[in-house]
């Protein structure tokens, strides 16, 4: 609409001055967009180019594929994405149905519920770390009190440690996605549900024929976006397990830092290049969604 309005306003003015008049607007546009272009060139384009340059040796990829930690990180990342995100999104979808209720106590609970998302991750991940301490953490104290048995050494077992990292990730980002799906639910006209009630529809039928059809696009977009963000979730793994025990819980987001620490920057960059076939399709999917 705005692109249509522009020629109209131009034709309304005498042709001569209009031409000269249009150029200062373009000039100002270029001046105002220049800071971002500068930021992009200096801090995105150059680092990406330099990173690709560092990753140019085929030898790096040979080393990378010979490193068992790399293979393990890829598997861990896939588990994180497939199990973690689907679990999170299903729970978020369920909880959005809970928080849509009108009771006052649910409104209050929703204010508290957002806390994990509103506070920085370091303190709460530290808190999780102490809760999971095998000797004196609250979890094992409770297990001991109720069963008389010692609880597991949570962060010393690779499977348990990765599960806990996924749990921490879910704890942190569940509120955000619940909020997004809640907004989607609230956009559904309530007349639809009223009409369905009159026709005697059950709760499941209402979900299947009203809620889900109007939310599935949003749900899919949210899942993809959550996958992209989770690929970059460094904190949940690094601050909880540090990649341990024995480098068995690394994910792609922490692997780069591991290689950097080991002074193997070329491997670090090669790992990122190898991850691109996984990342780019998701990125292009999101871009097509958002740049419409």
């Amino acid at each position: 609409m705005s692109t249509l309005a522009l020629p109209e306003s131009r034709s309304a003015l005498p042709a001569g001055p209009a031409k000269r008049r249009l150029s200062p607007w373009q000039a100002w546009g270029m001046i105002m967009i220049a800071p971002y272009v500068l930021v992009f060139v200096v801090f995105v384009l150059y680092p990406v180019g330099y990173g690709l340059w560092l990753a140019r040796h085929p030898q790096s990829y040979v080393h990378l594929f010979e490193d068992p930690v790399f293979a393990r990180s890829v598997v861990n990342t896939l588990v994180f994405l497939i199990v973690g995100i689907n679990l999170k999104m299903v729970v978020a979808l369920f909880l959005s149905g809970f928080f849509v209720q009108a009771q006052a106590w649910i409104k209050w609970l929703s204010l508290l519920f957002i806390l994990p998302w509103a506070v920085p991750s370091i303190p709460t991940i530290l808190s999780f770390r102490f809760m999971l301490n095998p000797e004196w953490g609250i979890i094992n104290s409770l297990i001991f009190r109720f069963t008389g048995e010692d609880g597991p050494n949570w962060l010393n077992d690779p499977t348990l440690a990765l599960s806990m990292a996924i749990l921490v990730h879910i704890w942190k980002s569940l509120p955000f996605w619940t909020l997004i799906l809640l907004a989607g639910r609230m956009a559904i006209p309530s007349e639809l549900y009223e009409a369905a009630s009159v026709d005697g529809a059950t709760g499941w039928q209402k979900f299947k024929f009203i809620t889900w059809p109007s939310m599935q696009t949003l749900y899919l977009t949210s899942t993809i976006l959550s996958m992209i963000w989770t690929l970059g979730d460094f904190n949940s793994v690094y601050l909880l397990t540090g990649g341990g025990p024995a480098d068995l819980t690394h994910v792609l987001a922490t692997l780069g830092i591991r290689y950097l620490r080991l002074d193997q920057v070329d491997l670090s960059m090669a790992a990122i290049v190898v991850a691109m076939p996984l990342v780019l399709p998701l990125v292009f999917f999101m871009m097509r969604r958002l740049s419409r």
Binding site: M32, Y36, F98, W136, I138, L282, L290
Partner: protein, 283 residues
């Protein structure tokens, strides 16, 4: 009548069956943080749900910088604050200009730049961390707080531009036309018409960038290492890495660090929720 209230009671009970676990799940780690901060050193390992003698001693130690891990506590807090505010302000300047140029001035190539920005937004930040670290080394900016500020502006800008562009596309184009016919310059249009109308989105985006920088750990610990330059998040990370960490003080510092963003979030909740989720829901 009786059946209706019985039905309502079962419904309420079902909701509580969801609500109570949700409450416990959400609050347990946060409560534990709080519990540690008010527990004396001797009792934190006892696994109690409430200390026998709650104390504010830990806060006294932290605020008084009375432990060698905390000798720069106020400096680190100040560093976090300065860097976050700088990131908030710079992101606003960069993103508002770009959004205005793309959306209102229809600058040539604006669409391409918007797409490049979106592309940057969707590349996970952890993947850019190592190249960014090497780049800052090449620029000679490592251990300089500008490195972190500029890196965070780079990360925050794409989303900021996208949200501001969405918001400014909604402003009626007739406003610009009227301003042009009245002979207003682009700058006058920007200052007198555009900025006042965009205020709610600007508040949301400024807060978003500020919180992003305050909460950042990965980039902060990569780019800063000098004890006088680091932010509170890096200090907490270093604190954790030490073997003999006084955990109750670590948790107390963590609580202090977590409070400002939580407070800001609740203060600006109305702007944040509508400003930041609108785009996602639309998509």
């Amino acid at each position: 009548m009786k059946r209706v209230s019985a039905k309502r009671a079962t419904r309420e009970a079902k909701l509580l069956l969801v609500g109570i676990p949700v409450f416990l799940w959400t609050m347990l780690p946060i409560y534990y943080l709080f519990l540690f901060s008010i527990s004396p050193k001797e009792t934190i390992f006892a696994g109690k749900l409430w200390p026998d003698h709650p104390t504010l001693h830990n806060f006294e130690v932290v605020f008084g910088q009375k432990h060698h891990y905390l000798s720069h506590f106020w400096l680190h807090l100040f560093n976090s604050l300065v860097i976050s505010v700088a990131v908030g302000v710079l992101t606003l300047i960069v993103a508002t200009g770009a959004a205005f140029a793309i959306s209102r001035l229809k600058v040539i190539g604006g669409r391409t730049i918007m797409n490049l920005a979106l592309f940057t937004y969707f590349i996970p930040a952890a993947f850019l961390a190592v190249p960014m670290y090497k780049t800052m080394g090449n620029y000679g900016l490592l251990n300089n707080q500008w490195a972190l500020i500029l890196a965070m502006v780079t990360i925050a800008s794409p989303y900021a531009i996208w949200v501001l562009k969405q918001a400014s596309d909604k402003l009626p184009y007739e406003l610009d036309e009227a301003a042009r016919i009245d002979g207003a310059s682009p700058l006058q249009l920007f200052r007198l018409v555009y900025l006042p109308l965009m205020m709610p989105s600007l508040v949301a985006i400024g807060t978003y960038a500020l919180l992003l920088a305050w909460n950042e750990y990965l980039y902060a610990f990569l780019l800063l290492s000098n004890d006088r330059q680091i932010t509170l998040s890096v200090a907490l990370g270093n604190f954790l890495a030490a073997d003999d960490s006084p955990w109750e003080l670590l948790m107390t510092t963590g609580l202090v660090y977590a409070l400002p963003p939580a407070a800001i979030y609740y203060a600006f909740r109305r702007y944040m929720v509508s400003g930041l989720t609108a785009g996602a829901v639309k998509a």
